[in-house]
Symmetry: C2
Subunit: 769 residues, 2 copies
Amino acid sequence: MIVKQYLKLDEWSIIEEGFDPHTHEISESVFSIGNGFMGQRANFEEAYSGSSLQGSYMAGVYYPDKTRVGWWKNGYPEYFAKVLNSTNWIGIGIEINGAPLDLAKCTVKNFVRELNMKEGYLSRSFTAVMEDGKELKVEAIRFVSIVRHEIGAIRYAVTPLNFAGELTITPYLDGDVKNKDSNYDEKFWLEVFKEAAQGSASLTVKTKKLDFHVTSVMSYNIVKNGEKLDVQAELIEQEKYAANRASVSVSEGEVITVYKYVANVTSRNHGLGELVNAARAVLEPAVETGFELLLKEQAAAWGDKWKESDIVIEGDVAAQQAIRFNIFQLNQTYSGEDDRLNIGPKGFTGEKYGGSTYWDTEAYCLPFYLSTADASISRNLLIYRYKHLEKAKENARKLGFTKGALYPMVTMNGEECHNEWEITFEEIHRNGAIAYAIYNYVNYTGDFSYLGQYGLEVLVEISRFWEERVNYVPAKDQYMILGVTGPNEYENNVNNNWYTNRIASWTMEYTLDVLEYLKENEDSRYAELTAKLELQEVETDKWQDIISKMYYPEDAELGVFLQQDGFLNKELVPVKELDPVHLPLNQNWSWDRILRSVYIKQADVLQGLFFLGDQFDLATKKRNFDFYEPFTVHESSLSPCVHSILACELGYQEKAYEMYLRTARLDLDNYNNDTEDGCHTTSMAGTWMSVVHGFGGLRVKDGVLHLNPFIPGHWSSFSFKVMFRGSRLKVNVKGSETIIVNETDTPAVLNVNGKEYSISGLGEVKAAR
Amino acid sequence: MIVKQYLKLDEWSIIEEGFDPHTHEISESVFSIGNGFMGQRANFEEAYSGSSLQGSYMAGVYYPDKTRVGWWKNGYPEYFAKVLNSTNWIGIGIEINGAPLDLAKCTVKNFVRELNMKEGYLSRSFTAVMEDGKELKVEAIRFVSIVRHEIGAIRYAVTPLNFAGELTITPYLDGDVKNKDSNYDEKFWLEVFKEAAQGSASLTVKTKKLDFHVTSVMSYNIVKNGEKLDVQAELIEQEKYAANRASVSVSEGEVITVYKYVANVTSRNHGLGELVNAARAVLEPAVETGFELLLKEQAAAWGDKWKESDIVIEGDVAAQQAIRFNIFQLNQTYSGEDDRLNIGPKGFTGEKYGGSTYWDTEAYCLPFYLSTADASISRNLLIYRYKHLEKAKENARKLGFTKGALYPMVTMNGEECHNEWEITFEEIHRNGAIAYAIYNYVNYTGDFSYLGQYGLEVLVEISRFWEERVNYVPAKDQYMILGVTGPNEYENNVNNNWYTNRIASWTMEYTLDVLEYLKENEDSRYAELTAKLELQEVETDKWQDIISKMYYPEDAELGVFLQQDGFLNKELVPVKELDPVHLPLNQNWSWDRILRSVYIKQADVLQGLFFLGDQFDLATKKRNFDFYEPFTVHESSLSPCVHSILACELGYQEKAYEMYLRTARLDLDNYNNDTEDGCHTTSMAGTWMSVVHGFGGLRVKDGVLHLNPFIPGHWSSFSFKVMFRGSRLKVNVKGSETIIVNETDTPAVLNVNGKEYSISGLGEVKAAR
């Protein structure tokens, strides 16, 4: 489905004017709302018989769907975890004199849908012309509260424009939903409890496997001309369904407003026997507070979020809208308050890619949360992996390793859960990203306490994995890593992927550093941990040996690292010399042709040069960038940001901006023609990085924040916020200077364009550019 | 399921004594009967509620089952063709006073099952003790006629041993069957027509896709004390089912015999409107001939088959039984009379591996048919591929090649139809085997007419594929082939698999030779073909260039060809140093571990040394054999035969016998614990090769048959038959001499142990050993 850009430009809102069923599923993704604990696609409250991807998601509630494979291979995961579409809690059926309102079956006028990012709500208004000519106006607004995590609220107002009659309103809870991507077309939910009472309904459903329970309790009231009606509703209970059906008579021009409040609670947070009570306990105060005050509370809380994370771009509304959209979606997806949660590739906007956690979290998302939220948030992202350490050890055992931990490529609960062996068995570089995230966190926050508390155990077990996974080649007196897939997934089963070899060796280096640090600084904890880990000197000696004898493929003549052994035997034709009819390759070329081609899906060697930027000089980075970038097709949404950041560093400003543009409006413009499946949530963090690490040039070296900004494209100025070790700095890059305002009273030291500045609490610094 | 050897040793029969439900499915495979046009697993005629794999197969009737994949990759085949389980035509329900006979629900005594290979039938006898103590004896015998290809016949005799009562007999046709390996658990058949009449029934079913029709018409009679009974049967018609239900009263000791005759015809051989009549037309004379004469006819025809293909081993009954079993199954699977048919990996003994044709046919089966049947039979195997040339060109186009033909790895109708990209996209060496088969056929038969008639077109299109598939590397001025899977399927996506590079280059060499031959010997056909093929000089020049600059990985120091680039970087631990708990690897190691290990599933470099044996000296073969054999786990049933043959050539007699033993009784002893899925039919041809090409040392050089025999193991002697250019020779290897008897009146010249002998028609030659 190729779709033109159809959303209106606006600095703070995403706006769709006019209803087009062909773009509806894209809009359902883009206009999604979430609060880190639940999320909801922009499905309609009233019935809709057109194409739609129904989606209500409860964070951490998933289904272990039996793996579907063409040919079973030993070691495959048993299941591919599925983000679960759960109870539809937004539903409000509308009938006019018995005829259901359905935008697929009437004429729709003045349709406007708005995602208000500043205040965190979704609104929609339209006039429907029914088949018999009756016209009614609808104004709906809803949000999921970022203050009260289990609460969603809806205001739904109907006005008959040219008739009087009977309006029937059916607020309901419907648990009879399914996942579009169910492997065997099964439904995943069973009914536990339902009850329809006057003015309310309750529904508890549980998953067929794992016994996750989700309880939804709704309360509603109907207001006419500002007065609450006392309507006697018909109570409806069906399989996995509970509703009230209320009819009111209405005159032309009268406004009937339905307020629907729902509490959605899960067995992740409440005892099985207490679910209904727990839901009522949060629902009641919300209802008492009332919709308008809840909405104010929401706007205020979002205001606080924006204070921490806003980026302002002047001179380019499209860019401004895009970056806010990305920040908004990231904040909707992960709030960092629950260390059992993580960031799914589609957030709460769709089901695709099933499992919740990929290496995206460590490689792409962490920097966003490091800079825009309290350190405790990032820390929780790391603790998530710490808690999965035992599972990662089990995973390594399953694959035949006698020690160490291999973190899964895709997971919900620490277990590997993907369908493809190339990903699960071979893409072991993710283990390095998890180690790297520890380094990144400590380097950014200065929170060295993390190492002794959690970090070391993870690092040691990952190093042990690498120790056993490398392959000593006596003839060469070198260590190699055979049979991997690197970050570039357009290669499979290669030998000596430079990135993997480097990140493996780096992990062992860093682990040894951390051991040294703890020995010197936390000797009793050091003793405790080495005992707990049963760490042997023969192991650390071995790591040292591997570090010193790791084989890195490179070409001396070109002065580049080789993505893997034999890379230069490929046909070296740059992307720009390809007839564009071949692009994107993944839609036009057979898999074997992609595999043997030179074309790179996403940064691979360059990912290593980005992560370990301190270890390589500019000339090396330049040679590798100049060599690899022309072969890169960026068919992963995670690719352009790394290229953009490196291009900034190399002074390739146009290339940097070109790369930035490839992801900035990825979903708003449906660039990859797949936004109907959900938004590319994790890549949004990459876009944020392009601005802050790329255009802003942010790095942390020796505990000091470094900036090296430039203004890209036709922007007149831009500004971003970063939190750094207790201070929050607003960095405004404009004209000939960079103005840094300290919004906190914690003083800070920073380096701008190579020059060091001290900035007092609430102070300001101007740095020449 | 690990099962002890439970079959009785016998030179001419496979015999099972005593009934064990745990081995029943294995026996269902082993005792299968077939005639090249249909096949039937050894399911019971009467009801059986225990574990069973029901299987009736009609050659060439298949189902294009939608491919099931974990993650769709561009270029995947749309379907995985399935050998179709079709109408159960053997069924005869038996009830005693209303209680059904079911061996899972009664006590079974004196059970004997026999596959009589000499005469081509399956028999079974037993005494059943019913729950109420009634005992009855059953003697059943059935066969599918190799004389009348559409006819199956059953004699089923029941004798009450300790009671008198009512015996109800229900001969039926049941089309409501399913394939165990259906990708989405669907049934594949629809009913077209059914009719139950007195003494007969007809059923026509068709496949849900492709519209294959299969009609079965049965006729039966019931005989008591030698007299045909005139029983009025109840006529039963149900969905896809037609039957007669006949009750007869029977006294203790009386024998009731049911004769059931069935004609199974398909729309492959008859018009849609004529199926029922066609079936009746073949059924009627069969019924008139009667069971006993049909059985005699069968025995005589099998006698003729054995005259052409028997191998006699003296001093080793187990080996004798095994080799006859293999020859028997091969002859049951493919008769060579229909050039649209081929040889499925499981023959007619199971569903596994779906599609009918793999490279097994060309690489392993062709030599058997070359030596044991008229040249026209092998020629038909080749023409099968010729007829698929257009599909093979389409297949290459689908994968992005602008010219040439890529034959499928798995096929029913010429289209690729497998579930796995590693197999379909990468295992391109099969294209070489198809070219090699042409060489092999012409070399063996001397039928040079095949080249102009069919061979050249196939060779040119395959050479064109290789031309486009190779990769020129300017820096090295060499051609490479990247991203393949060689014969060793325990590697994926390797670069420069030596075997693939060599067979590709060899194909081009041979194509140029054949072009030269035709230019010299069939100039007008040459002109016609080069015009039809639009063959350009620039193409043949390019082939010449590729031949001269093909890159072959090798290690000069070791003096071995390298299986692929980087092979020596693996951990080079021989299989014998592995703890046996790891074996078989495919049941104990995860797929990634297998892939990066040194272990070889089946002959790879050695396959090339076997195929192109003339091009390498003994020392080269020895170095490579000595290097690769210790790393080979032989987890493909196609592996040991190649090793056995090479070992013979190298004088490694013990190793040769050890390898022979690994496949000789593969199914009889359920060596791989998977015989319940069906027999390893194509590997049986490999076992035959081990004896004739290995122990017999058979080769054809410059049109002369060469033998170089030795007696393996503890055999006292062995003899085999080979047909060669009009003569049929019986080669008897014993004691100090090899005796060759010419069983035809066509004189022959042959070379034994390096010495040439002429042998007159019906003459005999003794060669010292």
